[in-house]
């Protein structure tokens, strides 16, 4: 059974179902209680689960993630909301130097089943310190897993899997997706990590896109179809583990690749995808350079026209795909 709910509702439902099923699951974050979180994701949860399990924290991102690690070591399954993704810069140390390494470093004696939810991305006029997309940092940290769901159903399924995972998971949600609606199963069914999905079949070019950009890529694909270009849109859904096989297969079919993400281009996850493809089996199938469509290499500016110019648009994707298909 499924029904249409929003992405925010899907995230909330995943957490609530996990909490119903497992006493060890609890939430921590700033203003997640009566306030319901800056984006309303935890709205009402405190009424149902109480302030111990929907645990408002003081403004202490570093301490909160560190405490999450400690609680996880004793068998709890904390789910931490960063109020904005940007503030995870304050918690890099416990995430990277503790959560990610403990299992390995202590020879497997302990594990850290911790989820850190990051409301990421721009498009809200919140400017440079409230609009970042930092997933590439975490991809580069062995010991972390990274999920980046684009749809309500994926948000629910992947979050259930993240909470059930014995490893620390960075869970990237895009603020502009929270209100997006989609069909979501009622049951608590985790979606496996590492399995991408072909969102749209196509012949001429593969577009690998993440999070909000999946939707922009699909819109671009519609437009390109009208121009006679058949675009395959691939959504990896999790960045670590990555469905390299899925991407490779798609590129081997189409012979062309465009990677789209909202994070700034330089050093972004698109580089990793380009490296995986240009370093692998699909290399010899490539008929054109791999193009990246990503944010310009600037902080996110405030003014709507500036912000729109920095963040990739449907037009940008259309142009990049067209260039890739026409160029050789």
């Amino acid at each position: 059974m499924s029904r249409e709910i929003t992405y925010a509702e899907a995230v909330r439902e995943a957490m609530a179902q996990a909490m119903d099923a497992d006493d060890r699951v609890f939430l921590m974050g700033e203003d997640i209680g009566v306030y319901g979180g800056a984006f309303g994701v935890t709205n009402g949860m405190i009424d149902r689960f109480g302030p111990s399990r929907i645990r408002d924290t003081p403004i202490s991102e570093n301490g909160t993630v560190g405490v999450g690690v400690g609680a996880a070591l004793l068998g709890m399954r904390p789910v931490i909301e960063m109020q904005f993704s940007d503030f995870v810069a304050n918690a890099m140390d416990p995430l990277v130097n503790q959560a990610a390494k403990i299992h390995f470093m202590f020879g497997g004696q302990l594990c850290v089943p911790l989820v850190v939810r990051l409301p990421a991305g721009g498009g809200t006029g919140a400017a440079a310190q409230h609009s970042q997309s930092q997933e590439a940092w975490f991809v580069h940290v062995p010991g972390l897993k990274v999920a980046m769901p684009a749809t309500p159903a994926d948000a629910k399924g992947l979050l259930l899997a993240a909470i059930a995972d014995d490893n620390p998971v960075v869970f990237v949600e895009h603020k502009l997706l929270y209100r997006v609606r989609g069909d979501v199963p009622e049951a608590a069914e985790p979606l496996p990590f590492g399995q991408g999905v072909v969102r749209r079949q196509g012949r001429d070019v593969t577009v690998v896109a993440t999070s909000l950009m999946v939707h922009k890529a699909l819109e671009a694909a519609e437009r390109l179809q009208e121009q006679g270009t058949s675009v395959e849109v691939f959504d990896p859904r999790t960045l670590v583990p990555l469905d390299a096989a899925g991407i490779t297969a798609s590129v081997m079919k189409t012979g062309r690749l465009v990677v789209v993400h909202e994070a700034v281009e330089r050093g972004g996850f698109g580089a990793e995808i380009a490296a995986v493809v240009s370093g692998g089996e699909a290399f010899s199938y490539l008929q054109a350079p791999i193009r990246r469509v990503a944010a310009r290499n600037t902080p996110i500016p405030y003014s709507p026209g500036l912000e729109a110019a920095v963040i990739p648009s449907v037009d940008d994707i259309v142009a990049a795909v067209a260039a890739t298909v026409s160029g050789g």
């Binding site: 009566v34 408002d56 403004i59 304050n90 006029g125 919140a126 409230h130 405030y302 003014s303 920095v310």
Partner: protein, 323 residues
């Protein structure tokens, strides 16, 4: 202990009254524009807390520095900022302080010593300490005031910065605006201490609490702290107890507090309180009304200017990342 020796003159108080009215009028106007959907992004309004910024900045010299917060309009106005450039920034215009790149949360005015508002809770404090370190290394006489909210004292940045200021004995004043809440979190839920200045002792620096809605008390307290800093006596923490009248940011259902509580605090309006003092000193009500009206007009003019100002050109962005 260093004390402010002279009480402010009436002329000074009148100027401060104007400043507080400009702050009030500016943020009321911003509130109105946001409610009408005319401004992009979000904002944090200073209404009800005007005496803190106005009192502290009245004590500072023009060449002194401040660092500000996400709730920073009042700080910039009090330090002598330009309403037009503020309005233009909020409307995302090229004429804004940041050429539209910053918006409400990122107003800085280097020329008047505002080293910047900050979207990251707590981060103004280490920056202020660094500025104070520079002043001390450069043997300059200025001091730095770091505005910070009650919510910011649990950040590591606060802790590390205040300790560095203490150990290095730097000319900085930490002005903690205790407006009772950090977003939805009451001070009592974030701290197991009755007064935030308890924290000062942990670093070996003086902490003084004052009524943040009482301009004279703010000035007296800031006066002591700034004088100490300027005399080489090192940092002080000032806790100014006040209240935020509006919601935390653009959208806030305010489920964490009661209407009664808000109403109670509105009775302690810092602007009205200063008006009463001036009236008691014999200043005519008409004069005060005229000053308030002038403040509102300045704000209207600023936004009128801003509305007609041109938008920035995105082509300039990539060249704007590096100095």
């Amino acid at each position: 202990m260093v004390q402010m020796s002279v009480a402010p003159t009436q002329a000074q108080l009148i100027e401060i009254f104007s400043t507080m009215n400009r702050i009030r009028a500016f943020d009321e106007k911003v509130d109105e524009l946001f409610a009408a959907g005319k401004v992009y992004g979000t904002t944090h309004l200073y209404v009800g807390e005007e005496a803190v910024a106005a009192g502290v900045c009245a004590i500072l010299e023009p060449a002194d520095y401040i660092t500000s917060t996400h709730r920073g309009h009042g700080h910039n106005i009090a330090k002598g900022g330009d309403l037009k450039r503020m309005a233009a920034e909020l409307l995302g215009k090229e004429a804004g302080y940041c050429h539209g790149r910053g918006g409400s949360m990122h107003i800085a005015d280097a020329a008047i010593g505002n080293l910047g508002a900050n979207g990251i809770v707590g981060d103004g404090m280490p920056i202020a300490v660094g500025a104070a370190l520079a002043l001390s290394m450069q043997r300059r006489p200025q001091v730095v005031a770091a505005f910070a909210g009650d919510g910011s004292l649990n950040e590591g940045a606060f802790h590390e910065a205040v300790n560095l200021a203490a150990v290095w004995h730097l000319p900085v004043v930490f002005v903690i605006e205790n407006n009772q809440y950090a977003m939805s979190t009451a001070v009592s839920r974030a701290y197991a201490i009755p007064e935030l200045i308890e924290r000062a002792r942990a670093y070996g620096i003086p902490g003084i609490r004052c009524d943040g809605n009482d301009l004279l008390n703010v000035m007296e307290t800031a006066g002591e702290a700034v004088a100490r800093a300027r005399a080489g006596g090192g940092p002080t923490m000032v806790e100014a107890v006040t209240y935020r009248w509006k919601g935390h940011s653009k959208s806030d259902a305010q489920r964490y507090r009661t209407r009664d509580e808000v109403a109670e605090w509105k009775k302690r309006d810092p602007v009205a309180a200063l008006a009463r003092i001036l009236t008691a000193q014999g200043v005519a009500q008409d004069t005060l009304d005229a000053l308030a009206a002038a403040a509102r007009q300045d704000v209207e003019d600023a936004f009128a200017y801003a509305e007609s100002a041109p938008l920035p050109d995105p082509a300039a962005l990539e060249g704007a990342v590096y100095a």
